[in-house]
Amino acid sequence: MTLLSADGLTKRFGGVLAAKDVSFALNAGEMLAIIGPNGAGKSTTFNMVGGQLKPDGGRVTLAGHDITGMPPREVCRLGVGRTFQVAQTFLSFSVLGNVQMALIAHHGQTRRLLAEASAMHREAALALLDRVGMAAQAGRPIGELAYGDVKRVELAIALAAAPRLLLMDEPTAGMAPAERASLMALVSAIAQREGIGVLFTEHDMDAVFAHADRILVLVRGEIIARGTPEEVRADPEVQRVYLGHSGTRAAARARRAAHG
């Protein structure tokens, strides 16, 4: 079943065509990676799906609803959680408080004037933190955490909206290699278990080839190739324009890991 479809998304910043006629579809439970060099338009595409940017042309459909140009808060309420390229959290809150805040928002309780916010949804928030392996840090101020841990908390925040779709813009940027692998494994386990669709961008080719079900290759705002990891890996155009040697090596490593 198609969860998300983008049809002909186009965005222009002054003279720069950041996204040109970008189309793709994503099924529930599927992990779709967008890869491409810096400035290819990955974040722009993400922001058009998440509502942070209004597309100049094209349509975004979520489970049959047209969500083109909707503000992020409404997109969120339709079941889209997201993480940002630079993690966005509530710095003055504790780790637990961040997730509680997301749950308060999810339940539409942000206008309550009398309840004690720090006592609301504690259990649910702890359970979410447990899922991302952060329950032990629940009481700490989020500003004290290592960046990799902040990214995990951001994932818990995104999951608080009980999303059908997760948007993750470079989820492992700024993390150590071991942390990257474990975060991606976590995301892919959650996606499979709960049937959440995941759209992500990633620079780390190991992560992409290990976890993506399908890959889109974006270069200068245009999709130049798409398909399963094997198809993309074999595509001569992709190898020439983008992957180069390091990408081919990563693909080979991933193949060995998968078969051996």
Binding site: R73, F90, E116, P141, A160
Partner: protein, 617 residues
């Protein structure tokens, strides 16, 4: 209306646009480089006028030549430029990295200091300046007489614009100014040159303000109110033009000059309101002004300055609160004077608390909170004096009036953030002030209204004190609860990261608007209580100085603390009440205190209390 008349009107609009531009260009250049909105820019303008009315007549004693007149004007500008250097070296370089609110307050401290020093040096009486030799006549345009000096002023603005353009594009200093304005990161990479650049920029900015002031002396006498009246106009010009943009300031000055020249024909009394409405309209369509650019998001996320994670009161905190409450209740055992001061402190504490609800909890730095306090006071006062209602319904109306006006202004305010938001709140407060000041038939104008007395049961000082205590304590307890509740948490979340709040489904603008309205209602309630405690109302209840008093209170209390603003209000008012009668230089004292607080005591009384407790534990 005749064509010649309209033409002359347009020309006088051009002349005032020219003067405005000269002043605003300095403000916008200083902001572009230092990112500080310099309240003291108006003080530089005033100093320019005072220096010129002293220097120019002395020069004209030698020879009544136009050249000496203009030499005197230019020398005055240079002298003021040196004051700018002094301010940069002694104050500004210490506050480039502190939060905006602290910067605004510190430069306002300079305003207060300069006001007192000007009074000391030149006295309170207006000083008329000499007319410009050679430009004293009138010129006939069609059949209308137009002063030659005004005609001359029309050319000053474009000439300054051209000179600034040359400076910005043809000198190394100017290229650095432009680079710093466009790219913050670059300034850090300048190393040693940075200090020179910033000092030089302050010289240029202050000299332009001084030039603006000195050029005014044939038109207006030098007077001690010049600073605040010009600074709001200069703010409006820079905000409409886009902060940091010199051509934007020119464009905005032209617009405002014409709006004032023709607005005065249609709405003679409320041209100021027209100007602010223009500003609100521009900001809604272009939130960074006509030619401004959006501020690039800060690279690394920093912990916000304000309330962090509000905790329940611990034992010591509860004891302190209990002692304070007992003290309030026991005041009538002392003398009547103590009761009077106690009632005032309660009212101010509620106003300050409501302001910190915005500033500390919401990151919404309102520079015009007194507007809602004052409008609440007028709402209650007018109902009693004009409509003959008793106190009780009037006190119910006060928060409604405060809240409704906050809702109206807040609709525009919450679309902005940071310095633009602060400027817009200031502008709206000035609109409210202007309306109250000029609508003499209803509000009594400058004199205000007397006869705002409580009902008979609350007429004694003591009874009114207990009424005030009951109402303010209830309101503060309620607001504190809201800070701990989901609504307060949501405001903090939106302050920390609007993008994240949006992505979890929060309508950020709506919540900020509701928060602004709630704070306005609480301030309005405080204003209503204040009116009945004084028995009178007057426009100072809406003025900038009172807004700054409120800000000083929360700064003194500590904006990171939930309850600190109460202590801040009490300490501020007690000190003011004690010192003001003793000294003629209250403003000097207050200005120095504000600067000292920003520099050495930025976490206020609550911070001192916390570190005291931390050490004891």
């Amino acid at each position: 209306m005749e064509w010649s008349f309209l033409l002359v009107q347009a020309l006088s609009g051009l002349a005032s646009a020219s003067s405005l531009f000269v002043i605003a260009s300095g403000l916008t250049i200083v902001f572009g480089v230092t990112r500080i909105v310099n309240f003291a820019h108006g003080s530089f303008y005033m100093l320019g006028a005072y220096v010129a009315v002293t220097l120019v007549p002395w020069l004209l004693e030698f020879d009544r030549s136009p050249w000496l007149f203009f030499a005197g004007v230019l020398v005055s500008a240079v002298v003021v430029g040196l004051f700018g250097v002094l301010m940069e070296v002694t104050l500004l370089r210490r506050i480039y990295r502190v939060p905006e609110l602290f910067q605004l307050l510190a430069t306002f401290g300079v305003v207060l200091i300069v006001q007192d020093l000007v009074l000391l040096a030149w006295g309170p009486v207006d000083i008329p300046g000499p007319r410009a030799p050679g430009l004293r006549h009138g010129v006939y345009i069609l059949d209308q007489r137009f002063p030659a000096y005004e005609l001359f002023l029309i050319f000053v603005g474009p000439a300054v614009l051209a000179l600034l353009w040359l400076l910005m594009h043809r000198t190394r200093f100017g290229v650095l100014i432009r680079a710093a304005t466009q790219d913050r990161e670059m300034v850090g990479a300048l190393g040693v040159n940075q200090a020179m650049l910033f000092t030089g920029t302050l010289f240029l900015g202050a000299a332009l303000a001084g030039l603006g002031g000195a050029l005014q002396i044939p038109r207006v006498s030098a007077n001690p109110q010049m600073d605040l009246s010009v600074i709001t106009e200069a703010f409006v010009v820079t905000v409409i033009g886009g902060m940091g943009s010199v051509p934007g300031a020119f464009l905005a000055a032209l617009l405002i000059g014409q709006l004032q020249a023709f607005g005065v024909l249609v709405f003679p009394k409320i041209t100021l309101v027209l100007v602010f409405l223009l500003m609100a309209a521009v900001l809604v369509v272009k939130p960074w002004g006509l030619l401004g650019r959006p501020e690039a998001a800060a690279g690394r996320a920093v912990l916000p300055e304000g309330i962090l994670d509000p905790r329940p009161l611990d034992l010591a905190g509860k004891l302190l609160a209990a002692v304070a409450l007992l003290g309030v209740l026991a005041l009538p055992l002392l003398d009547a004077y103590a009761v009077k001061v106690g009632t005032e402190v309660l009212v101010l504490a509620l106003a300050a608390f409501s302001l910190n609800f915005l500033v500390g909890n919401g990151g919404i730095v309102s520079f015009g909170h007194a507007a809602y306090f004052g409008l609440g006071a007028y709402g209650a006062g007018l109902l009693v004096t004009r409509a003959g209602l008793p106190m009780e319904p009037a006190l119910v109306a006060a928060p409604i009036v405060g809240g409704a006006s906050a809702a109206l202004f807040g609709f525009f305010v919450v679309r902005l953030s940071g310095i633009y938001l602060a400027m817009l709140t200031l502008a709206f407060a000035q609109i409210a002030y202007a309306v109250v000041f000029q609508w003499v038939e209803v509000t009594g104008g400058d004199n205000g209204l007397v006869g705002v007395w409580p009902s008979a049961w609350a007429a004694s000082r003591e009874a009114y004190h207990y009424l005030t205590a009951a109402v303010t304590v209830a309101a503060i307890v309620f607001l504190r609860r809201v800070i701990h509740a989901p609504f307060g948490a949501t405001l903090r979340a939106a302050r920390d990261s609007a993008q994240r709040a949006d992505a979890i489904g929060v309508d950020v603008r709506m919540h900020r608007w509701l928060g602004f309205t709630l704070a306005g209602a609480a301030a309005g309630l405080a204003g209503g209580l204040y009116a009945f405690s004084k028995g009178s109302i007057d426009p100072t209840l809406l003025g900038i100085p009172l807004s700054v008093d409120f800000l000083s209170m929360i700064l003194l209390g500590g904006i990171q603390s939930v309850l600190g603003s109460i202590a801040g209000a009490a300490a501020f008012h007690a000190v003011k009440d004690f010192f003001m009668p003793l000294t003629d230089h209250w403003r000097l004292f207050l200005g120095l205190s504000i600067i000292a607080m920003v520099l050495i005591f930025p976490r206020g009384l609550a911070g001192a209390w916390a570190s005291l407790r931390g050490r004891a534990a």
